[in-house]
């Protein structure tokens, strides 16, 4: 079965976005009338179910949905997926930052002003598909692109990146992940990184637009974030919801594809890869005209200017600082 998130422009925030009312008796385990495998936490009465992973016409309000066969659902899901792939590549070509302002042409003045101000220091952006994986994909692409552009001027960045990725294997093993279960994702990530030696920008983009390569890399970085949290439980478990274990949190929110990332995942990935990030937070907050930058720093020394991600509520894209775009000035 392929569950594809709905073709919405941004990620649906976990447990907060679209909700679909379903009713089951208090003793029932399951409601077979809704076409999606989503569920309530243990102990909850199943009345409202977050629609974070579903996205078809078959998940309509109670009692109104058409009865489709599994085959028809599959076909529909695939059609939605294909349409989405054409509209929004997993990672898109970079565009002038001011193109972003056009999205808000008839909208918020606040956003327009902030984008205008942002364009003083940043000139381009690159969209990552809003499929719940946008943070991991944007992070990986931004990092690998940085390394690729500096392959001649600063080859040591490539060597460091390769070593970092190789070390993630030990981290995953330390977190008790089975080699068999993660080595394919790890291999694809490492190979893509090694290929940067001869990749052109177009080839890198093509690799990240390929489902198999791109999703394997996303998966690897998800597992890295998860492994980091699991091996640093003492520090991070206090931030979990009451009663939730780190393993539960990681399997549901970090390891599973399509689940949106929160601050904790950004911290984990930053620390596990020793790569610093700056998140430009473009919010509708009218009290400020400047975009806020939130730094995420590794515990180790910063050896490369931070990757810059553009965050709009629920979604991450890649942002390019003016000086960083120039080849060689990394």
């Amino acid at each position: 079965m392929n569950f594809t998130p709905p073709p919405i422009p941004t990620d649906a925030p976990i447990l907060a976005a679209t909700t679909t009312a379903t009713t089951t008796s208090s003793h029932a385990h399951a409601d077979p009338t809704v076409a999606a495998a989503v569920a309530q936490p243990v102990g909850a009465v199943p009345t409202i179910v977050a629609a974070e992973t579903m996205g078809t016409a078959t998940t309509g309000a109670q009692g109104q949905e058409p009865q489709l066969t599994d085959e028809q659902i599959l076909t529909q899901m695939q059609a939605i997926k294909d349409e989405e792939a054409n509209l929004h590549p997993l990672v898109d070509r970079s565009v002038d930052l001011l193109e972003l302002a056009q999205e808000y042409e008839n909208g918020s003045e606040t956003f327009k002003t902030k984008i205008q101000n942002l364009s003083d220091t940043h000139d381009r952006m690159r969209r990552s598909r809003g499929d719940g994986n946008c943070f991991y994909r944007a992070f990986a692409f931004a990092w690998f692109e940085r390394v690729m552009l500096a392959i001649k001027s600063k080859p040591e960045l490539h060597a460091t990146a390769v070593r970092t990725i190789e070390e993630t294997k030990d981290l995953l093993l330390a977190a008790q992940f089975e080699l068999l279960a993660f080595e394919d994702f790890y291999q694809v990530t490492l190979e893509t990184l090694q290929n940067l030696v001869h990749y052109t920008s177009d080839e890198l983009l093509t690799a990240f637009q390929n489902d198999e390569i791109s999703n394997s890399i996303v998966m690897h970085f998800r597992l890295v974030a998860s492994a980091f949290l699991k091996t640093h439980q003492d520090e991070y478990a206090p931030f979990l919801e009451f009663g939730q274990t780190m393993d539960e949190f990681c399997s549901m929110h970090v390891e599973a594809m399509g689940r949106e990332s929160e601050e904790m995942m950004l911290i984990a990935l930053t620390k596990a890869t020793h790569i610093s990030i700056e998140v430009a937070y473009l919010s509708g907050n009218q009290s400020a005209v400047e975009v806020n930058f939130l730094p995420f720093l590794p515990d180790t020394a910063v050896y490369m200017p931070p990757l810059v991600l553009l965050y709009r509520p629920g979604h991450y894209d890649i942002l390019y600082r003016k000086s960083h775009c120039l080849e060689g000035v990394i």
Binding site: A30, P32, A35, A37, A39
Partner: protein, 146 residues
């Protein structure tokens, strides 16, 4: 690549399958049939069950469809008589680091911890209305103690 993962899992299962688990039929990377034996000292001792795993093209990024098939479906508060299984790791707690072997272990432990062989309370209504694919059901995991 995803076929590569399954071929590794198959090799691993052939060499060291969890106790009570055996491969009945795994000729392609779409559908596998596995045997699951009730563990000694449990309510299911001596019983033999059959599991069917259906792998979509995105396995292991997405969970396989897993159900009990055949004449003998375990009578268990979380297993419907149509073979559908109410187990969180098969649905919203799925993580790509799960494997066929780890699912079998989870099922084995679900059976072993059972204290009373009873069908789910809503079995009759559920099996009448459920789709063939249990992943099309909205599962509510409100009791993980049995």
């Amino acid at each position: 690549m995803f076929a590569r993962r399954l071929s590794k899992e198959l090799k691993d299962l052939a060499l060291n399958a969890p106790a009570g688990v055996n491969i009945i039929d795994a000729n392609d990377f779409k559908v596998w049939k596995l045997g699951l034996a009730g563990a000694p000292g449990t309510l299911y001792e001596g019983e033999k069950f059959q599991l069917e795993f259906n792998f979509g093209p995105n396995y292991p990024l997405e969970s396989p469809q897993v159900l009990f098939i055949g004449d003998n479906v375990p009578v268990h508060p979380h297993i419907y008589s149509n073979g559908h299984i109410c187990l969180d790791v098969l649905y919203n707690h799925w993580s790509p680091v799960q494997t066929v072997a780890s699912i079998c272990l989870s099922l084995q432990s679900m059976l072993s911890s059972c204290t009373s062989k009873e069908p789910p309370p809503d079995n009759a209504t559920y099996v009448k209305t459920a789709r063939a694919n249990p992943k099309h059901t909205t599962w509510a995991f409100h009791d993980d103690t049995v």
